[in-house]
């Protein structure tokens, strides 16, 4: 198995795509799959066209994010490609538009499209849903319904430069929005690590009313009133700052939290979250220090690495809000690099992360997902 990475921050979209892909593919005889990560300052069609000019007809799966993760650090603008090839490795891709009001069917359709091209029983599915879409958890539920537990699932929500307007997903067939791009890879082992580093503070909060990404009530009160009260009184104007520092955590039976990231206050005191939240659940206010997040970055990278006997590369899906929380500093990448050593890796800053705690893919916020591929 061989992997190559390339990065470009050339101002021309096509050139950036071609440069990054050219570097990634130059050592590969015949790439099987290229992961293409871009930022929203580029024209995505041109980025893809540039990349395709270098990938030699291989499959491409891509996502636009809020930044590019490379071993050298995080870039707010740029294009990164990780190309994969070698004996025994195979891949197919699919790009499916979100079906209005039926996210589960979107997931099922995506799975069927992948299986139609590759009737395999096992493999790893890289999923890149539009991070601005509703009910991504349900989409993953539908995807899993068709593919089942014999596949691994990993990926991240696509995003923009925090303008929350539009994000892009792509495969070798084209660029889309409000869609899910996916690649199914087999003939290669993957280890997956996921973690966040947030811990609960204070008494539990009951989510008494929620629908999709909107949290209407906590403890039978307008959500913002309760949230604000717990933090000693907040001005809605400063909500983003507090939301970034105090997400909500929802516990599972093993005591693990899945994080939900508050985005803004809506009229009437509801809070809009980045991702859908389960109604009639118990949530905790979460807090973290920089050290917690960095510690977890080490744990996540280690967990992903230790599963694979002969690691060949890594992909990093890092929530954009972690980067903001860490002050856009290089520390997290440094920790990852420290663990992964010389292993080539790229990634992007995500709007939500896809990874399982057990076997089932979950959609996380404010988390770090690393997958290490190898033999």
């Amino acid at each position: 198995m061989k992997a190559g990475v390339g990065f470009s921050c050339a101002p021309s979209s096509k050139k950036a795509g071609a440069e990054a892909a050219g570097k990634a593919c130059c050592l590969l005889e015949k790439p099987v799959l290229a992961f293409l990560f871009s930022t929203d300052g580029y024209n995505q069609e041109d980025v893809l066209e540039g990349a395709l000019s270098e990938t030699g007809g291989s499959c491409v799966v891509g996502a636009c994010g809020a930044g590019i993760v490379t071993p050298q650090g995080i870039y707010r603008e740029g294009v990164a490609v990780l190309a994969l090839g070698g004996e025994g490795i195979s891949a197919v891709t699919a790009l499916v538009q979100f079906i209005e009001g039926d996210p589960e069917e979107t997931g099922r359709r995506l799975a069927r499209n992948l299986l139609a091209k590759a009737p395999v029983r096992t493999g790893t599915v890289f999923v890149f849903p539009d991070g601005l879409a509703n009910n991504i958890s349900k989409m993953l539920c539908g995807l899993y319904e068709v593919l089942g537990p014999d596949f691994q699932y990993v990926g991240g929500g696509t995003g923009d430069n925090l303008r929350f307007i539009r994000s892009y997903q792509m495969t070798e067939c084209g660029v889309s929005s409000c869609s899910v791009a996916a690649a199914l890879v087999w003939g290669c082992s993957f280890g997956i690590g996921v973690g966040h580093g947030w811990r609960s503070v204070g008494a539990p909060l009951i989510i008494t009313k929620a629908r999709g990404r909107v949290l209407y009530e906590l403890d039978e009160q307008p959500a913002f009133d309760v949230y604000s009260c717990r933090l000693g009184g907040l001005n809605p104007q400063n909500f983003a700052e507090f939301g970034a520092k105090h997400p909500l955590g929802i516990a599972d039976a093993s005591g693990r939290f899945i994080i939900r990231d508050p985005l803004k206050v809506l009229p009437g005191g509801a809070i809009q979250l980045v991702t859908d939240v389960p109604p009639k659940a118990v949530a905790y206010l979460m807090t973290a220090e920089k050290e917690d997040l960095l510690r977890v970055a080490r744990d996540v990278a280690t967990a992903a690495l230790q599963v694979v006997r002969a690691p060949g590369f890594a992909l990093v899906f890092d929530c954009v809000s972690r980067s903001l929380f860490l002050g856009n500093g290089p520390e997290e990448v440094a920790v990852i690099r420290e663990v992964l050593g010389s292993l080539p890796f790229v990634g992007f800053l995500t709007f939500g992360e896809v990874a399982p705690y057990e076997d089932v893919p979950l959609f996380h916020n404010k988390s770090l997902v690393i997958t290490v591929g190898g033999e």
């Binding site: 589960e104 319904e145 068709v146 599972d252 039976a253 389960p278 009639k280 057990e358 076997d359 089932v360």
Partner: protein, 520 residues
């Protein structure tokens, strides 16, 4: 997080688990909770409610997996007891079903406790759901046919009146002869006819149409967004489907009168269109005239054949003889029509005679004979209950009266007895005498005529007997088909005593009184 705090949080989620809607929705909610809270990678819910085959809801079982592993229930049973498997029989909580969860890692003690609570909650919710579903079903459906009931039909008309589904067409279907079927074949068979009619009608419409049983024997079909031509095509399909169904069930054929109407726009009340369709259905019934009567007769014949196997073909032969006699005495066309119907149904009163009496091969006891003699009266009442048969009700009652006044049930004499009943009595007697019926063989044609001649002026109208004997002498023995009742070719039978005719035998004492010609 401390596992006990997590347990409390999950406990709240599990205890507040709820859903509104379908079983599918409940399962989706269950999957969302069980996969997120417990990391379950395979989830199944099997419900054994109201069906021999369980309703299976499964998640995490790809298509190929079940093809290889076999039946889902088998898979669950094989894996029950594994550390990473949780199975709960929901029956203990009042819902016949099974909940299955599987994950790679072992379920810990506190997780199993929580899953017990989740399973209990699922069972409770399903119990309430099924109860509500049943209530809704009962309040909107006709329990016999499974079609919507009148209340739902009327509600649907009100809803459609306000909607944008015009043109709306209505078809009214009426099952002919249901009352007779109920009275003669019994309500069980009448119910079967209704169910058959319901199936036939429902098969002819789209899934978006509504079929309701709006009365005892009346069905209505609501066809949204259907113009008059399309509705008439559906009505034609129904008529054709009835014929096809009758070919499969010739023993009791269906007869359905059909009427259609269309409301082109919301300006026309749908109740008015319904009334028009109902009127059209009645016109169809009248236009087809004999057909509903034919259906009634077929039903009665079928019922009688079930009860009195010995009488097989009897009515047809009597009809032939009676019509020949009727023509010979110059009956009008209307009377001939009536005579045919009378011949078809003259014995329907035997449906009220106990089966052991009808099928008895030895002499009847006094009590049995009295029971048997009720059949003209019973036949009269059955015929009166049907519009189609009412014109011959009185004739049925009189067909065992004697010219001499010694017959039954009322002892009418001479021309007090309707001529059609008198004609039928002669034909009936001849056929009974020449039929192979227990307890002895048939009389020959000649012996039967001699016996009838002997009873002219006593049992039979002498003038009719004269015509009949002349007619039969010209015609020769009545032609028969089938294995039963071949006329005796040998003249030896003419030497025998006159034999009882008709089913059963009257006791010696009754014969001596000259009440009937039945005797040992």
């Amino acid at each position: 997080m401390d596992v006990h705090l997590a347990e409390l949080a999950v406990l709240y989620e599990v205890a507040s688990f709820n859903f509104s809607g379908s079983e599918e929705e409940l399962f989706r909610e269950l999957v969302a909770k069980a996969s997120r809270l417990f990391g379950a990678r395979r989830i199944a819910l099997l419900l054994f409610e109201e069906s021999a085959r369980p309703a299976c809801y499964a998640w995490g079982f790809p298509e190929h997996f079940l093809q290889e592993q076999g039946d889902l229930l088998d898979y669950i049973r094989r894996n029950q007891g594994s550390p990473g498997v949780y199975v709960r029989d929901l029956e203990k909580k009042g819902t016949p079903g099974l909940l299955f969860l599987e994950r790679k890692r072992e379920f810990e003690g506190h997780e199993r406790r929580l899953l017990d609570i989740l399973a209990g909650r699922v069972a409770e919710l399903l119990q309430v759901y099924f109860r509500e579903k049943r209530l809704i079903y009962l309040s909107t459906r006709d329990p016999l046919t499974g079609l919507y009931n009148r209340a739902y039909f009327e509600e649907e008309l009100r809803r459609l009146q306000k909607g944008r589904c015009f043109p709306v067409s209505l078809i009214v279907c009426d099952l002919d002869g249901l009352k007779v079927a109920n009275d003669t074949l019994g309500h069980k068979r009448g119910d079967e006819l209704l169910r058959r009619a319901a199936r036939v009608i429902a098969r002819c419409v789209r899934g978006s149409d509504l079929v309701a049983r709006v009365g005892g024997d009346e069905f209505a079909v609501v066809l949204p967004q259907t113009d008059r031509a399309a509705a008439e095509e559906v009505a034609r399909r129904i008529t054709q489907a009835v014929e096809e169904d009758n070919a499969r069930h010739p023993e009791i054929p269906l007869s359905i009168s059909v009427g259609t109407a269309t409301a082109e726009d919301p300006g026309r009340p749908l109740v008015e269109a319904y009334k028009e369709a109902d009127d059209a259905m009645y016109r169809d019934k009248l236009a087809r005239g004999a057909e509903p009567r034919g259906a009634v007769v077929r039903v009665l014949k079928a019922a009688l054949a079930e009860r009195d196997c010995a009488a097989m073909g009897h009515a047809e032969r009597v009809k032939e003889l009676a019509c020949a006699l009727g023509e010979a005495v110059g009956l009008s066309r209307a009377d001939m029509d009536k005579l045919r119907l009378l011949a078809d149904v003259h014995d329907i009163g035997k449906l009220g005679v106990p089966e052991q009496v009808l099928s008895k091969t030895s002499a009847l006891t006094d009590e049995e004979w009295e029971e048997f003699k009720r059949h003209p009266e019973v036949g009269y009442r059955i015929a009166l209950s049907s519009v189609e048969l009412a014109p011959v009700a009185e004739l049925i009652r009189q067909h065992h009266e004697w010219w001499s006044g010694q017959g039954y049930p009322r002892g009418l004499a001479g021309e007090e007895i309707h001529i059609l009943s008198r004609i039928l009595a002669v034909a009936d007697a001849y056929d009974a005498m020449t039929s192979e019926r227990p307890p002895g063989p048939a009389l020959s044609h000649e012996d039967a005529l001699a016996e009838i001649q002997k009873r002219a002026g006593a049992q039979f109208d002498p003038q009719l007997v004269e015509v009949f004997i002349r007619l039969m002498s010209e015609r020769g023995p009545a032609c028969r088909s089938g294995a039963r009742g071949q006329p005796s070719a040998a003249g030896g039978s003419g030497e025998k005593e006159p034999r009882p005719w008709g089913p059963g035998c009257r006791p010696e004492s009754a014969e001596e009184e000259g009440v009937d010609s039945r005797r040992e």
